[in-house]
Assembly symmetry: C2
Homo-oligomer: 316 residues x 2
Amino acid sequence: MANATPVMTSRTLDSITGAKDVIVKCENFQRTGSFKFRGAWNVISHISNDERKKGIIAHSSGNFAQAVALVSAMLKIKATIIMPNNATPSKIQATKGYGADVIFCGNNPGDRAKMAEELVEQYGYRLVHPFDDYNVIFGAGTTAYEFLTSIKPIDLLLVPIGGGGLISGCSIAAKGLLPRIKVIGIEPKNADDAYRSFQSGMRLPVVNANTIADGLRTSVGEKTFPIIQEYVDDIVTVSEEQIIDAMKFYWERMKLVVEPSGAVPLAGLLSGNIEPSLIKNKKVGLIISGGNIDLSKFFEVLQKDSQTSSQLIKKK
Amino acid sequence: MANATPVMTSRTLDSITGAKDVIVKCENFQRTGSFKFRGAWNVISHISNDERKKGIIAHSSGNFAQAVALVSAMLKIKATIIMPNNATPSKIQATKGYGADVIFCGNNPGDRAKMAEELVEQYGYRLVHPFDDYNVIFGAGTTAYEFLTSIKPIDLLLVPIGGGGLISGCSIAAKGLLPRIKVIGIEPKNADDAYRSFQSGMRLPVVNANTIADGLRTSVGEKTFPIIQEYVDDIVTVSEEQIIDAMKFYWERMKLVVEPSGAVPLAGLLSGNIEPSLIKNKKVGLIISGGNIDLSKFFEVLQKDSQTSSQLIKKK
């Protein structure tokens, strides 16, 4: 039930990176604006009838919330979503718009999980985890499966890492289809738990995650980390400035509305932190994970500017 | 040499308009970010060798400027572009970036044409008109040809009107392919010369064009107007607020960076000013003419906000 999303290319991107081709998989065009729909559909459509009757519960900063809300509405299941107080307002609004009940909690990732457990206890809801669930992981992996089967073989695949659901699913699919492909995870420096975990071989929690990439503030999961250890070749981190520059490139040059988390792989490609021999004359695939970003301020200013200039003309 | 641009759809758009399908042709993904590349390529690639040696000159508020600059660079022809003082800075920058010489003039459409004539006189440049030239018109018309041959027949095609190059080319192509299709031009109320001309049957100039749709501030042309009279079924106008709301829909819901002029057909579709029987249960095609908009302020604010919040964390 997910959209088959298009891929995009840019001559400018090929020329500034020295890659043979840079090909971008656009999950910002996915239903609900992010790849999360794939995992939500895959897990919720497999829930038993008894569980459906009781309803489901999920916790998410936004993209998974929207995906669960829409899938639940499509399957006529009651959904309760726990969102942090500091979630992007447009993501909260969209989640409510699809008909889910939204409950707010504190901003620590631990807060959400705790509140979810309490409500599961109280109401018997089925908890749907945003990434640490094999059905969610396999659903997310269809992104890479669809990407790699729709284009000619690529040499390097760059995927953002938050909880690790997208990259674990995508790395399984990518290595299954193309055993020699390299898969590199890109993570914000300001939420580098996956990088530190990968280096040390032990799952370490995120500390003070302060990144504009709101989808990547969570710690890598119990189920996703071992998959990352097995199938991912490397993890590279990027600064906040690099993330914003990559967003800017997508918006200005490729006319794509991409959220900060979705621009992280391009930030990695442009950062100089990836071994150049993996890029030079190679075919590089990037996954844009989503495009949900609050634009209300931008449009308020535009609206105001346009009214002011109309009044000036009328006064002439 | 133009890109075959993709088409996009939105379930939300179908449901709010009551149309059977709304299908959007994305010329914002065209080379140089607008349909103007098609006309520029079609005219400049046909110029004689003698004329090529002397160089070409064009006047444009931005999108045609970029297109002429890139085509000239590709064909190794010297290009001089006259742009108004109030042209969008990112469009000026892009035009220079492709290697054209940019000369500035006043903000009245008449200023540009006058300066161009003087330079043609002085240097023997070949003048390339942004829309009132049959090769430019036919080039622009490939947008509709490609659109309508790539999808199933549609009932109604909505196209923005500025100088009329896009709609005259597209209406010829559309009526040629699908004689029963309706073609409606959409124009900003604040630059409604085509609407008034169409109603009165005489070509009337634009007065005090004060619209955010910077590509649509020019008057309809001598060559384009008779084509519009013959092939276009109606012209409908939209307010500045409707244009901004349509842009907002494209950005927020469809994740497409669309410039104000490019959002004008959607503004028309959502305005209620088109006879409902032409929309209800019909297949409606919209042309997004371009996606070139200055985002530097938006990204400056984002950059500043992100630095501030990083510093706050470091001080903890």
